[in-house]
């Protein structure tokens, strides 16, 4: 090995309304919560049975993604929420969601989150899309928390303000699916 091997996490987003591709594999903007979560997973004394620190322990209803209408605010590292969510709270929940380890791809490994809103369940003009996880926000060593005590936080965002995509109006006659793919790659 001539050089040290470093690694990188890169995220890519695809948005579809049934057979129409609206955003095709656009690279996301990762915010600080994502890196803080990775460190927290190394130093916390997480407590819980069958614990999944990102998705809750199974008693928590998982919803990975939310949509917003903001088109002017660029992503900053300290963001916790979308600027102008569609719906209450973090935004309207999707109807179906999944998380899958996809195995080795291109020399690295890959993880895929997917969320789908049924036709007619969400409407508006989309200017920002957020990925939310039950991310650990406490990097204090040995901090003692139940696996179910983490709150859902923004970890990555795609936005029109960042030039990631042109804002679009949701076609409420079609379902909306977002695939958020993470590559763990070398170099």
């Amino acid at each position: 090995m001539e050089e040290n091997i470093s690694a990188k996490i890169k995220g890519f987003v695809t948005v579809k309304q049934e057979d129409e591709v609206i955003i095709d594999g656009q690279e996301n903007n990762i915010v600080n919560n994502f890196a803080e979560h990775m460190v927290g997973c190394h130093v916390l004394d997480v407590y819980g049975v069958d614990c999944n620190v990102c998705l809750g322990d199974g008693s928590i209803d998982i919803n990975f993604m939310h949509l917003g209408e903001d088109t002017t605010t660029v992503t900053s590292g300290g963001m916790d929420t979308l600027v102008d969510p569609i719906g209450s709270g973090n935004g309207t929940d999707s109807n179906v969601q999944s998380g899958t380890y996809r195995g080795e791809v291109n020399g690295g490994v890959e993880w895929l989150y997917s969320s789908t809103w049924d036709a007619g369940t969400i409407s508006g003009t989309v200017g920002e899309i957020g990925l939310f996880l039950y991310a650990i926000d406490n990097t204090n060593v040995g901090a003692y928390e139940w696996g179910t005590s983490f709150s859902k936080k923004l970890v990555a965002r795609l936005s029109a303000a960042d030039g990631d995509f042109d804002s679009f109006t949701i076609d409420t006659s079609k379902s909306l699916t977002i695939e958020w793919r993470y590559e763990f790659v070398f170099g």
């Binding site: 090995m1 040290n4 091997i5 470093s6 690694a7 990188k8 996490i9 890169k10 690279e27 903007n29 990762i30 915010v31 600080n32 994502f34 890196a35 803080e36 979560h37 990775m38 460190v39 927290g40 997973c41 190394h42 130093v43 916390l44 004394d45 997480v46 407590y47 819980g48 049975v49 069958d50 614990c51 999944n52 620190v53 990102c54 998705l55 322990d57 199974g58 992503t75 590292g77 999944s98 998380g99 899958t100 380890y101 996809r102 195995g103 020399g107 690295g108 490994v109 890959e110 993880w111 996880l133 990097t139 204090n140 060593v141 040995g142 696996g147 993470y182 763990f184 790659v185 070398f186």
Partner: protein, 178 residues
């Protein structure tokens, strides 16, 4: 801010030998990190952090000729015997840089007078199997897993003979940069 860079850094302090080196992360390392996005640890109570768990450890070896490969999952030479006398885990954050550290110290006289040519970090947690897809709700078991390695063979540092009259401290940092 488009992605996160992941690096490993190793500090070694043993008498007159004071070393700052970068490590190499391997496939085994990233197969552990990907689990932090959603794998379920089965029947684990409590599930400690990957460095916080007392099974996470730093191993010292005497190899000076075998370079690290993506597939490397162990020391390449003999383990230098002697259990660490203390272990500490710390974390820090500054701006968009987040660090987790494991610090092991061997007191003077604990280690044998051997050549230190490689340093390996083993974390304790979940590890994805190579090319086998999983649903997020499948259960997995925790284990000790190779994360990364700094070695004289890779040119990370110059090997040296351990001064057994002095303590030896290794700080292994995993760094995430947004």
């Amino acid at each position: 801010m488009s992605g996160i860079n992941i690096k490993g850094e190793v500090s070694i302090d043993n008498g007159n030998n004071k070393i700052e080196a970068e490590n190499s992360i391997t496939k085994s390392g990233i197969r552990q990190l990907v689990t932090l996005l959603g794998f379920v640890a089965h029947n684990v109570n409590p599930a400690h952090g990957n460095l916080y768990d007392s099974s996470a450890r730093i191993k010292l070896g005497d190899d000076t000729s075998t370079k690290t490969a993506l597939s490397t999952e162990s020391l390449q030479g003999a383990l230098i015997s002697g259990s660490a006398d203390s272990r500490t885990v710390t974390s820090s954050e500054s701006g968009g840089t987040y660090k987790a550290k494991l610090i092991n110290t061997w007191d003077s006289g604990t280690l044998t007078e051997d050549t230190l040519g490689e340093v390996v970090l083993e974390t304790y947690g979940l590890k994805a199997s190579g090319n086998i897809p999983y649903d997020a709700y499948d259960y997995h078991s925790q284990s000790q897993n190779f994360f990364g390695r700094a070695s004289s063979a890779d040119g990370d540092f110059s090997s040296f003979t351990i001064d057994t009259t002095e303590p030896l401290t290794v700080v292994y940092k995993i760094i995430f940069e947004v």
